[in-house]
Assembly symmetry: C2
Homo-oligomer: 333 residues x 2
DNA sequence: CTGAAAGCGCTAACAC
DNA sequence: GTGTTAGCGCTTTCAG
């Protein structure tokens, strides 16, 4: 029933070795037998089993991509750009959602690697760094991180300069005359520099950041909404909120509307990521843009290099974010 | 270097069969040797090779998911719901983007199946139906379609009732007194019933639908924007637009804003899908909601059933859409 | 130019 | 309770 290399060999009246050779364009075979084999493959509708081939050492021309949550537009865009560049280079990509959950990370890691992908892109925060390390060191799987970092690991990494991004956002708000600025951050590593930069900028401006002006939560619109609600009901309510990603910012906008606060007149909001959301919200979101397209392309290229030959030095590429000013921020009256 | 079942066996001083048995909880082994093996596995940091196991007939507990474009929030949500239900049931999911491209469909199909996934969910429009058919019939791969249909194939399918959805949208606009209603549809099968229902409702109301009131395009905000621009510059400009998905609708809103048309007073807009976008746009979008969560859960359950034993009858489940009225539609002055 | 044979890592009879 | 062995579908020396 199942058509494999044997069926084809039988049909063509040759050995399986010969079939393998025509499949892989290796060795040399006469034009005549090549045709015979091709015809047999066609007739039986043969598809080579990539997994079995890779078991024997062949490349799969596929890479794996681990993201925390594909329904976050930022990661969807990252996935898009990686897919595009990979496709140009002749590679397929298989994506998996980790939800920043250690168990899922583990499961998908072993699933993906035993599927014998040729390389792995990790966009997930990754709690279990030892697993990744083992994979790189012991198993020699090429790995590149994108939009996530693991400082203690020597690993190729591409991120935006999160510190600079945070600083950009804070400075913008400060330059608009805001003094009571709150921040909503996601509880992942990439948000730490954003928060640090924010605090730093505030300190430079001689402004306090009360504890209750700092909220940490998950990257969900709903969470942004809840956090903003809490912030907006403080006695000393902030006049501006820096939301560490667009999802959160979208939630902030909803909360403000519910309270009949006009954005940007009663409340300024800046987001981060410059995803679709930032142009569909109203007012459109002032946000810090990550060069997603470039990051995706670069990560794929780096991975390919690493696949060619593991290099002794790992790169750590920091791309510059840009502030995109739209309509969600205004100067204090 | 590579740690496999042999290394573990050697380390534990047993045979590979014994190791296999403790891994799979099959046969019976004494508590003592079990411990020994477990200890060896732990010491060597052994991970079983799922691909090799499946080559020998074992299940992988993984399913594949083919979507057209994960950066469309609708598919991201579909993926989310499938991931969630699968995870509850102990399955992993590997997603791939086809971009409705025949070559990619082919590549990913053979990649996924030779990775020996236990089943496949297809949310992609799928041009190459013969490939799917062969996979089902000849190779016996359990397949379920979600939010996409292939009428001529006998295959498990879960979709929303697109006809009803289109009818709901059109009727709503009609009941608001609109007479000049345009439609922007995506050029895929699922949009055909939406368009047909729209025409039907218009006809019932005795209203004409001029050819230039029907635009077909791709599911991209940008395309929605362009289409709307075109529609809005007609001499007889429509007073309402039915955009066949939220992405398109978001584009329409942008175009209207650019032209200083107020929504819903100068132009009513209804979308389809009820994705995140519909609550972040302003005004919030009146849209037709698909029960994504239920659809995702159901598709997984159906797939599991099919995996247990291929049933002679295939199901075709049509879920009811619902009209969600928000602020982007109003009655004609 | 073609084929026989070994083996990738694993599971599942079947012996012992 | 444990081990031997025969493959799963494929690639790759190495002979002929």
């Amino acid at each position: 029933m199942k058509v494999n290399i044997h069926s084809v060999a039988r049909e063509a009246g040759v050995s399986i070795a010969t079939v393998s050779k025509v499949i892989n364009h290796t060795g040399s075979i006469s034009e005549q037998t090549r045709k015979k084999v091709l015809a047999a493959m066609d007739k039986l509708n043969y598809h080579r089993d990539i997994a079995a081939a890779s078991l024997r050492g062949k490349r799969t021309n596929a890479i794996g991509l681990l993201v925390p949550d594909i329904s976050n537009p930022f990661y969807a865009d990252i996935a898009r750009s990686i897919e595009d560049r990979s496709h140009e280079l002749g590679f397929s990509v298989m994506m998996c959602n980790t939800d920043n959950d250690t168990d899922k990370e583990k499961t998908y890691l072993s699933l993906l690697t035993s599927q014998r992908i040729d390389g792995l892109v990790v966009a997930s925060a990754f709690r279990s760094t030892d697993l990744l390390e083992e994979l790189m060191e012991k198993q020699g799987v090429p790995i590149v991180l994108i939009a996530s970092e693991i400082p203690k690991l020597s690993i190729n990494t591409i991120t935006v300069d999160d510190y600079k991004g945070g600083y950009l956002a804070a400075s913008h708000l400060l330059s608009l005359g805001h003094k009571r600025i709150a921040i909503i951050a996601e509880n992942v590593r990439s948000n730490e520099p954003r928060l640090a930069a924010f605090k730093h900028a505030m300190q430079e401006a001689g402004l306090p950041v009360p504890d209750d002006y700092i909220v940490k939560t998950e990257a969900l619109i709903q969470k942004g909404y809840e956090s903003a609600k809490q912030l907006l009901s403080l006695k000393e309510r902030p006049t501006a909120i820096f939301a560490c990603n667009d999802l959160l910012a979208a939630g902030v906008i909803q909360a403000a509307k519910e309270r009949d606060l006009s954005i940007p007149y009663d409340l300024s909001v800046v987001g981060f990521d410059n995803t679709v959301l930032s142009t569909t919200t109203s007012p459109m979101l002032t946000t810090v843009s990550q060069p997603i397209k470039e990051m995706g392309a670069k990560v794929v290229e780096l991975l390919m290099q690493e696949m060619e030959a593991s290099r002794p030095y790992k790169e750590r590429l920091l791309l510059s974010p840009k502030l995109i000013v739209r309509q969600s921020t205004a100067s204090l009256p």
